[in-house]
């Protein structure tokens, strides 16, 4: 039976090739795709981007300044597009376009998981990520990313500085951190998943320490309620203070036993421990704790 083979219509098949869906993505750990996506995810978080591309002029970020920003998604698109443009393998454009958008979408989506994954890998910090979940942090703005740059001696002096951001000025909608890193000794880069309206910088919790206050050449200590009194919780300030007795002003050695007696006694302005409440080294420790300093900034506009 003689039969003629149909001619292959190249044009038609070209369209078909274009319509071929990209092959299943093998994104197993260590695969080429996984490497590509994770590299692009890091790029999405501005890792490795030269700083003069971020801040082209030093006057934009003077010494001791804090600047808020919104991340330009177009800029990021162009950056990632440029990175993806290498290694052209000569396949029909729409096919590679479908594959391309899958890779870039994976990189974009991965950006929000980098920090939690990093925290989970560090047992000491895993608390933070679970805490984030507990605090109900959400992606605030449909892919919008905002943040701030802080150039200050604070960054070097308080390496564990804690940052929190909110989508509203009142501080009711916490935002997840995408990246928080001291990119230089005195430069802190912070990216939020969403548009931050208020940002709080807090002394690290390990700075919960003991101290006194300098007043008029002497030393005083603000007193706290060592036990709940009325509607005041233990640890609240009573609004009064006591003189800190020193063994000698010259050496600055505190007469601890006398200070404990002063803090315990009813002499210090109106409150005394409830009946039966002991005043021990524990209460003394609580009284001596200095507050952790907190500074809150609000983004304009």
């Amino acid at each position: 039976m003689a039969r003629q083979l149909p001619r292959i219509d190249l044009r038609a098949h070209s369209l078909r090739l274009n319509a071929t869906p990209p092959v299943a993505m093998d994104d197993a750990q260590g695969s080429d795709l996984a490497l590509v996506v994770s590299w692009m995810t890091r790029l999405h978080l501005l890792h490795g981007v030269p700083f003069n591309y971020l801040v082209p002029d030093e006057r934009m970020l003077p010494v001791e300044s804090l600047r808020f920003f919104r991340l330009d998604e177009n800029w990021m698109d162009a950056l990632l597009d440029g990175a993806y443009s290498i290694g052209f393998a000569g396949v029909a454009e729409p096919t590679s376009r479908a594959a391309r958008s899958q890779v870039l979408a994976a990189a974009r989506g991965g950006a929000a998981r980098v920090r939690p994954a990093m925290l989970a890998a560090s047992p000491r910090l895993a608390a933070t990520s679970s805490e984030n979940v507990a605090r109900g942090e959400t992606s605030g703005g449909g892919g919008a990313v905002s943040g701030f740059l802080l150039r200050s001696a604070v960054v070097a002096g308080w390496p564990g500085v804690e940052v929190r951001g909110w989508a509203d000025a009142a501080g009711t909608q916490p935002l997840a951190l995408l990246r928080l890193e001291a990119v230089a000794p005195s430069l802190l880069l912070c990216l939020f998943d969403g548009v931050a309206a208020a940002v709080e910088l807090r002394e690290p919790a390990e700075a919960l320490h003991f101290g006194v206050e300098a007043v008029d050449g002497g030393w005083r200590k603000e007193t706290r309620y060592a036990a709940p009194v009325g509607d005041r919780a233990a640890g609240d300030f009573t609004g009064t203070s006591v003189d800190v007795p020193l063994r000698s002003a010259e050496t600055g050695v505190v007469d601890v036993a006398a200070l404990a007696a002063a803090l315990r006694g009813p002499s210090h302005g109106g409150w005394s421990p409830p009946d039966g409440a002991a005043f021990t080294a524990a209460e003394f420790g609580l009284e001596m704790v200095e507050g952790v300093q907190v500074v809150r900034f609000q983004a304009d506009g």
Binding site: W39, S65, R70, A78, A89, G157, G252
Partner: protein, 451 residues
Amino acid sequence: MSDQDGTLPAGADVTFVQYLLPPLRSGEVTVAAAQVVEAAGAAQTFVTAQRLSVAGARYRLGPDDVAGVFPPPGSQGEFADVLPHVVLSSPTLPWQRAADPAAPPPAAGDPVATWLAVLPFRALDPPPVPHAVTVGELAPSGTVFFPPRTPEAGEANGDPVTVIDVPVDLFAAVAPTAEDLGWLAHVRRVDVRARPAGDGPPQSDFGVVMGNRLGLPGQATTAVLVSLEGWAPYLPAADGTPSSLLPEQAETVRLVVLHSWTYSAVDQQQTFAGLLTAVSTSPSGVQLPVDGPATGDASVDALVADAGAMGYTAMDHGLANGDPTVSWYRGPLLPLGTPRFLAPPHTAASPLMRYDPTTGMFDVTYAAAWSLGRLMALHDNAFATALYRWKLTQARSSVEALETALLDETLGDFLPTAPGTLGEARRSRFAAAAMGVAAPAAARLAADSAP
């Protein structure tokens, strides 16, 4: 713009506990047992005693025993009003030994003296220099005083120990009194719910030992965690007079150093809140301040101000033909939000150059970003290779998929079975025959489609 407060951190659940006494103090313990046996009207008492040795840190601490110190080692800050402290991993450590071994067991609620003390020495004291001796040398000799000690099991006279020799006057001036020792240590219990758990339950309790002396602004302070085991009788009185029990000839006292670190107290302005409230937040965005000289032309001034407010900077720009010009650039950190309008992919940076007809200047922002991305990708060899390999795999699979489909369609009529269900032997024969046709065709397809 900013405010501050100084409360306990919200959510930081910290409980202070007076003390956690170990079931047995470290050192030698004698367990005595007596049994009275009565039989046939006669009673006999059997007595036995067993000596135990409770091991515990004495003259040195392990690397993990100190969980943290404050102020941080080597740090500078407003520490002149700070009493330094040491956080210990073992919550019972401050009470594992006794400053006064002869003291009776405490009643509930009474202060329990710790055997550890943090002694802050100021630079002008000057701080005693730590040096190494051996355990066997921990004894009074000449002008150096050391309280009587009992050797313990597991100690060798040759074991090294770090000590400081403190002049008697300085010791009397800075050492805590025996009474102070009951106030200077406590247990800090943190909230474990927010803590990670590894192989075991997370640690919730930490021993904390507080110093008793303030630093001096402008001076380095060396804080030393020392052992005061057996020192209670030799500690100074509350007014700083040396103990009368110190021998006449003693000029220095020898203290065992368990840990030490140095920090500097600086100007009072250098607080966390002080620094942060002083930072400039105007303008609030990453933008050039508008402080240049006015050009005299209001419309130009307004244009410059606008460009600045949008985050633009005018940059020198060498055009492709070599002509120098000035173009707009702005980084990705904008002072304001902008919609997403770029439609990649682009095959080169040039289409991303944007021309601003009002100024006659180019906006090279996105072209620069695109080039940067490409350069970064090329710079990273591993990434570039992986991306190329992956793209190649994608291209091959697409062509192969089309090839199979073409074969099935074209040769399906020859086969008794339905397309796509070819027997393996026949399929490979047909495939080999058809490959000569389809493979060049596919290659041409790819070439055609390439821009």
